[in-house]
């Protein structure tokens, strides 16, 4: 039994943690939140330079081949640090290009992501509601995109996107497009402005169909979301752990009624429950990582399990961390405020809990049919 990351991966995690601590990411996130700064592209480039983001990209496409274990521990550290960087957007764009792109497309786009030369994103959402193919209306016709996407993660800063569109036959088609002057981009205020979202209007934007075509484009997209979900689960686990750590530290040092508030069972049991949720989420995420590593087809159930568990844990940990802090916890300047926003934003950004629960159960159904 060896359900633990390799020593190499853990060393990368330690390095990432030390680096991110030095960069004082929570202050950067707070600044971004107050509109004083855009997502921290400079910090992102520094991180890319370590090779961290390219770890899931094979060496032939400019990655360092460190693999998914490394990516998972880095995601956890990003979650813990609250770094306001275009992480999820690059992972999403990279994953779908890696899985669905032609040899040529992979050779062209992936090195740009791995080197930080360009920021990529996935332009998927249009109307509110659960992710589904039916919701896609943006047109792709004669090599050009027309329509609206909102919200697009890091949409105002990104250089290009995989745009999920519909061709004249009504088929779903992912399209690679640079953000040129035909794209009108408006940053949108959100519940977590430390991670930017934008509304994008495409007005005849030139784009190239991702991959070699065929009817499986939506299924491939969904499979790429599965893979990204495991990474995101680690980011959430990192955030949840940070919330627990903050709350425990505060509970040990804040006094009321002549003793640390952490001596009260109301606080002790609350934080024990958070601990349980975080450990289950971490454990489920590790099973997801195992799925990623094994490169088996049937990742859906493990990914969905990891993601649901991580959403629940981070939401709970961030809420209860505020509650443990009392009044100070829900002020604008409290770190707990930043984590609560991030927890809720991550829970909404890449398929919600409902989406992933449905994915989990239908994944089990397909297993039973098979």
């Amino acid at each position: 039994m060896n359900l633990e990351f390799s020593e190499e991966a853990r060393a990368i995690g330690d390095q990432a943690r030390r680096f991110l601590e030095k960069r004082d990411c929570r202050e950067r996130a707070r600044a971004a939140l107050s509109g004083e700064a855009e997502p921290d592209v400079e910090l992102w480039r520094e991180m890319v330079a370590f090779g961290w983001i390219g770890s899931f990209i094979p060496e032939e496409y400019g990655g360092n081949g460190a693999g998914y274990e490394a990516l998972c521990v880095i995601a956890e550290e990003i979650g813990r640090s609250l770094a306001p960087v275009p992480f999820a957007s690059n992972i999403l764009a990279g994953e779908i290009i890696l899985r669905s792109g032609t040899q040529e497309q992979k050779s062209y786009w992936l090195p740009k992501i791995a080197s930080g030369e360009m920021i990529g994103t996935l332009a998927l959402h249009e109307a509110p509601g659960r992710i589904s193919a039916d919701a896609i209306t943006l047109r792709y016709e004669n090599g050009r995109l027309t329509g609206r996407k909102c919200p697009v993660p890091d949409g105002a800063q990104a250089d290009f996107a995989v745009v999920v569109a519909r061709d004249p036959d009504g088929s779903i088609v992912p399209v690679l497009a640079f953000f040129d002057e035909t794209v009108t981009r408006t940053r949108q205020p959100t519940i977590d402005d430390s991670r930017a979202q934008a509304e994008l209007h495409f007005d005849g934007t030139p784009g190239e169909r991702l991959g070699s075509g065929g009817s499986g484009a939506w299924a491939e997209l969904v499979a790429a979301l599965d893979r990204a979900a495991v990474i995101l689960a680690f980011e959430e686990v990192g955030g949840a752990q940070a919330c627990l750590d903050l709350a425990v530290e505060y509970a040990k040092t804040r006094h009321a009624f002549g003793r640390p508030i952490g001596a009260n069972q109301a606080i002790k049991h609350k934080l024990a429950n958070v601990y349980v949720a975080v450990e289950l989420a971490r454990s489920n995420a590790m099973m997801g990582a195992l799925g990623l590593l094994s490169e088996q087809g049937d990742l859906a159930v493990a990914a969905a399990t990891a993601r649901v568990s991580a959403i629940q844990a981070f939401i709970m940990a961030s809420s209860e961390s505020i509650q443990t802090h009392g009044g100070i916890g829900f002020t604008w300047e409290a770190d707990t405020n930043l984590f609560y926003r991030r927890a809720n934003a991550l829970a909404l950004g890449l398929g919600t809990e409902s989406y992933w629960k449905e994915r989990l159960v239908s994944g089990l159904e397909q297993r039973h049919l098979a």
Partner: protein, 419 residues
């Protein structure tokens, strides 16, 4: 058994309605739930004008004695007035603490000269009062406060920091609880004063909340000189005075949490572009039913409390129960609604069609609802001890001189603070 007023109550309600119909317009209850806005000068002016109208018509100070301009009526009349006023678009909130908590404390402890001076301007909206009890290190454990009042001739000198003070930025006066004896056990060394908020040494700074609102303040007191005549109650008897003040809070039985069940119902039953509304799903129906049952239960529990009030009995734990249930429900409902919007739930802009609902804001306000006015943990302790009669928590600080009690501010995640 019925939900009707007694004949006398019905007469009073009728007179309230007549006044409101003549002087205010009905609120559109389906529109715009509770917003989290700031009070500016213009709004303050409207609030003062409305208070003046109420005073002129005899609907201010309903429970105050007639001698000081009040109506000499009972708590149930106050509640009836509030119930009716809630249905009209009138300025709310600016005078509640002064008229409901501060002046009643003066009525119990101040001398006639002071009452002569302060009651009328408060009642007519000319002067605004606030209440300064909580401190950064004395929230749930209010009696652990460390603001210091030192005797200096006929005066006291106050030094310390208060927090979570509503309305401090526009208040003229405030009542303040301070420690006058650090050698006594913590409840025994406190004294109550009232102070001029424009006095030298009083500085007010807004607190920026997660929701974006700033309706609370920090108040810094630096060498604030207060005449001994502005002491309320005996020296070292401040805790008992504070309990009087806080008892008055329990009357706020009509406290409204929005968005509530009507709002989530509206959200869940709206259909979007021909699609079935969310409420068509069994999962949604069952979840909604839980909130409906909780919401109606709180409403009926309040009505049982009002039944007591109507009979002249003391209100019970209605407010604690409502707060516990509503805070949890608010958090659940807002998260549920936002979740249902998918990625669209991220968007906060009110002008964006994807965000035309109050739940994103509620999501950011909800954690505060579990804390403000007593954390859910403190409220459960109150129910356990005062209603069920279970033993009090073991207190490490009982009967110990205050200065010997272990204190710690907590390693705080707050910007700029070193820990």
């Amino acid at each position: 058994m019925d939900l009707e007023d007694s004949p006398e109550e019905a007469r009073f309600r009728k007179s309230v309605r007549a006044f409101l119909d003549a002087n205010a317009t009905r609120r559109d209850e389906s529109a715009e739930p509770a917003r989290y806005y700031e009070v500016d000068e213009a709004k303050l002016g409207l609030a003062r004008a409305w208070q003046r109208k109420k005073a002129a018509a005899g609907f201010a100070g309903i429970r105050w004695p007639k001698q000081w301009g009040g109506q000499g009526l009972s708590s149930i009349h106050e509640v009836i007035y509030q119930q009716e006023e809630a249905r009209y678009a009138v300025p709310k909130g600016v005078f509640d603490i002064g008229l409901g908590m501060c002046i009643p404390t003066l009525l119990a402890y101040a001398d006639d000269a002071h009452l002569e001076r302060y009651t009328k301007p408060a009642l007519w909206g000319d002067e605004i009062w606030c209440q300064m009890f909580s401190e950064p290190n004395a929230g749930s454990d209010l009696a652990g406060l460390t603001t210091r009042a030192v005797r200096d001739g006929a005066d006291w000198i106050l030094d310390g920091q208060k927090t979570w003070t509503s309305g401090a930025q526009f208040s003229d006066f405030g009542i303040v609880l301070a420690r006058t004896d650090f050698g006594a056990p913590k409840h025994k060394g406190l004294t109550m004063f009232f102070i001029d908020m424009k006095a030298p040494g009083v500085e007010v700074r807004p607190i920026h909340q997660m929701s974006g609102a700033s309706h609370f303040n920090e108040v810094f007191l630096s060498g604030v000189r207060v005449p001994d005549a502005q002491r309320l109650g005996e020296v070292s008897d401040g805790w008992r005075v504070a309990v009087t003040t806080l008892m008055n809070e329990r009357l706020a039985v009509g406290e409204e949490a929005r968005p509530d069940i009507e709002d989530i119902h509206a959200f869940l039953t709206q259909s979007d572009g021909g699609k079935a509304p969310p409420m068509a799903e069994q999962a949604v129906r069952f979840r909604f039913a839980d909130w409906y049952v909780a919401s109606k239960g709180v409403e009926a529990f309040r009505n049982r409390g009002l039944t007591k009030l109507s009979r002249g009995e003391m209100p019970g734990p209605e407010l604690s129960v409502a707060r516990i249930v509503n805070a949890e429900k608010l958090q659940q409902m807002s998260r549920y609604a936002v979740e249902m919007m998918g990625a669209g739930g991220l968007l906060l802009d009110r002008d964006n069609p994807q965000a035309n609902n109050p739940f994103q804001l509620a999501l950011l306000a909800a954690p505060g609802a579990r804390i403000a006015g007593g954390t859910s943990e403190i409220l459960r302790n109150i129910i356990a001890e005062r209603v069920l009669g279970l033993p009090a928590d073991t207190r490490a600080d009982k009967d110990v001189p205050f200065r010997e009690i272990a204190r710690g501010a907590g390693k705080s995640p707050r910007k700029g603070e070193t820990v």
